[in-house]
């Protein structure tokens, strides 16, 4: 459970930072405003939707941190046989990076108001993300063809489970991306389009980060890394 504890410490750090700006030491019973006092809106300047997405990403991060925790706990048992990762995963990683870059370009274009570039970026991102999903399915088929079935070893089960969960999150993102793309073709409300593109980009970068972490975990580098850290500490 150490991974999730570390993750929660990070969340607690954010929460603590935010709380420290909320005047926890103030004495509300002594404050009385008079009519006409300048009363400011006490909220973040960030768009509400972005904060909402941020909170949601914390929940998603929590989910994957828990999968990782379970993975490490199960890995310690002797019957664990790591499976060879198909080389296709490298290509998939590249495609997902491309998808993120395309969305980043779309964000920049949306800020500059270049609607053609926004459309191009969104379409590229959508297609590459679809390609990533197809690539993942092909990787699954390669593995099953080589005899690495879901049930034959816990390492296999975890591989299918975690990659599947990540794929489902990409799929959900594609729904949002589809709506944004539709909005880009209508181009009715540029302000709103900019925000949706930014939200998509945020989600995509986060899922790319999760994928890189998951990839490192499944390839065994994460375990090696933790071993090195542990040796350094002791």
């Amino acid at each position: 459970m150490s991974v999730i504890i570390v993750f929660l410490f990070v969340i607690a750090g954010f929460a603590g930072w935010w709380l420290s700006h909320q005047g926890l030491m103030s004495k509300p019973w002594l404050e009385q405003g008079l009519a006409g006092d300048f009363v400011a809106l006490d909220r973040s300047a960030l768009p509400t939707a972005k904060i909402g997405l941020g909170v949601f990403l914390a929940v998603v991060g929590c989910l994957f941190a828990l999968f990782t925790s379970a993975y490490f706990m199960r890995m310690a048992v002797s019957d664990w046989q790591p499976l060879p990762l198909p080389r296709l995963l490298w290509l998939n990683t590249g495609v997902l990076v491309l998808s993120s870059i395309a969305l980043q370009c779309a964000t920049v274009a949306a800020r500059r108001g270049q609607i053609d570039m926004v459309r191009l970026g969104l379409a590229t991102a959508g297609l590459t993300a679809l390609a990533f999903l197809i690539g993942q399915l092909m990787a699954w088929r390669q593995l099953t063809a080589d005899g690495y079935f879901l049930t034959s070893n816990p390492a296999n089960s975890f591989f299918y489970l975690i990659t599947g969960m990540h794929g489902l999150h990409i799929l959900g993102g594609l729904v949002g991306l589809g709506r944004t793309t539709a909005g880009a073709w209508n181009a009715a409300r540029p302000e709103r389009l900019r925000l949706s593109v930014e939200l998509c980009a945020m989600y995509w970068h986060f899922l790319l980060f999760v994928w890189l972490a998951v990839f490192a975990l499944l390839a065994g580098w994460a375990a090696t890394f933790i071993d090195i850290c542990r040796q350094l500490l002791t």
């Binding site: 929660l8 969340i11 019973w29 973040s44 914390a58 929590c62 999968f67």
Partner: protein
Amino acid sequence: MVDITPADGIPPAEVAEVELYHPHSWWTRYVFSQDAKVIAIQYSATATGIGLVALVLSWLMRLQLGFPGTFDFITPEAYYQFITMHGMIMVIYLLTALFLGGFGNYLIPLMVGARDMVFPYVNMLSYWIYLLAVLVLVSSFFAPGGPTGAGWTLYPPQAIMSGTPGGQDWGIILMLSSLILFIIGFTMGGLNYVVTVLQGRTRGMTMMRLPLTVWGIFTATVMALLAFPALFVACVMMLLDRVLGTSFFMPAISEMGEQLQHNGGSPILFQHLFWFFGHPEVYIVALPAFGIVSDLISTHARKNIFGYRMMVWAIVGIGALSFVVWAHHMYVSGMHPYFGFFFATTTLIIAIPTAIKVYNWVLTLWRGDIHLTIPMLFALAFIVTFVNGGLTGLFLGNVVVDVPLSDTMFVVAHFHMVMGVAPILVVFGAIYHWYPKVTGRMLNEMLGRFHFWVTFLGAYLIFFPMHYLGLMGVPRRYAELTDMTVMTESAHHLNSFISIMAFIVGFAQMVFLFNLIWSIRHGREAGGNPWRATTLEWQTPQTPPAHGNFGKDLPIVYRWAYDYSVPGAKEDFIPQNMPGSFGPSREPA
């Protein structure tokens, strides 16, 4: 839409991006509504409905325990199914949904001075997914083999084996699917509650001016958002074990002399994941109760809450600590003694912020102008019950005491007192308190007092003797207790007595339900602010609050939520949105 152009240097009352959804038909107004108040009532009604099922299940269990062998239809399998569904429904589908989905939806926007939740559409989806989860859960009663009988903790390997009711039938699959749906639905709602508190507050409503109710619900929601994923992960993995034959939790095991295909899974891993959710869950239902009870006591004792800052810190502190105590549910799982020592320590540390809260409630009452209204009675009953349940928690938090007691009725008594009866008393108090705002009418006083006394005394008569049964060694989770040496004749009598009390308390809840329905039409007219309370939900122009909550302009907040009996003020309460300085002790502004 309200005019949002700034005038004379005063900043706009609302931010332009907040767009209020307007319903166009009966369906979108009352059924597929995006109004948080309607969603709150939908949540509460559904939770109450499924809660009634759980109440009936507890009666059936008590029939078996109190009068063993009398009722043929309660087989051991059926008993386990009753126990499982009773526990799961009460903890998750009733308490969590009612506090966060019900009270959270109704009170957060009104109390922080917002027109609605920030993502109303997602909020609506949240309810419908919750309803779907409840329907899936209910469907398991009609599935072949019946609902699961694995115990509300669903421990593998027994949960998915053929010896457990529903283990190799539909029961466990429907249970796990229902939980997964619940978590997805809750996450949608939870995002709303958190972000509305962050971004939806009206002008002047700083975090430190929020009523403690909002603090409690807010912190509990943050915890739930971080804790429910653990249950989600556990459910998904167990579902794969059951349906696709993986071995996440299933060790090599043989059943009826036959080797199962599972190999090498870890049941302890499930326990870690489950309790990583399960312990925060206790505080997910307790923190909203803490918050609400603070407001009830302050309002009905006409006195400001004692130590507001401490109360806020304690809520946040309890929330954070509750994530590092989960393994105290696993003392008997064969853990390393140092591990147990660590978790015993963190568990006992939680007693400090909790005790701070109890002292502050008592000190709020001290020399207050206590009105023994029904909400106040329930609030007082909560303090007593919570202290009682908390003290036995100190027993069970210690490893050496927990090990002999952990499989006895003592534990049943403890957790019913602390997270069953105590939060439910607050739910009742809160309903008596806010019902006038929701419907515009008061609940019937006579029926209310009857309901209170029967529920409060009856719950004590049910659960207090159970502690003694537990100390005698009467085990929990047993469908048949007849031929055991610990079951002396007096223990049998006590069991029968407890069962009879359970029926009486259950009956009192029917009276309460009747009161809820009857008073919608026949209750006394309440007016806008019958309790003369300070918080914003009582200052709405209409009662019940109309769509958009606050009429043309959102209120501006000038003070904290607890200005009761301020010396020098005209009345004994000053609403949060009333400007001006009162009282000799305050510096003139």
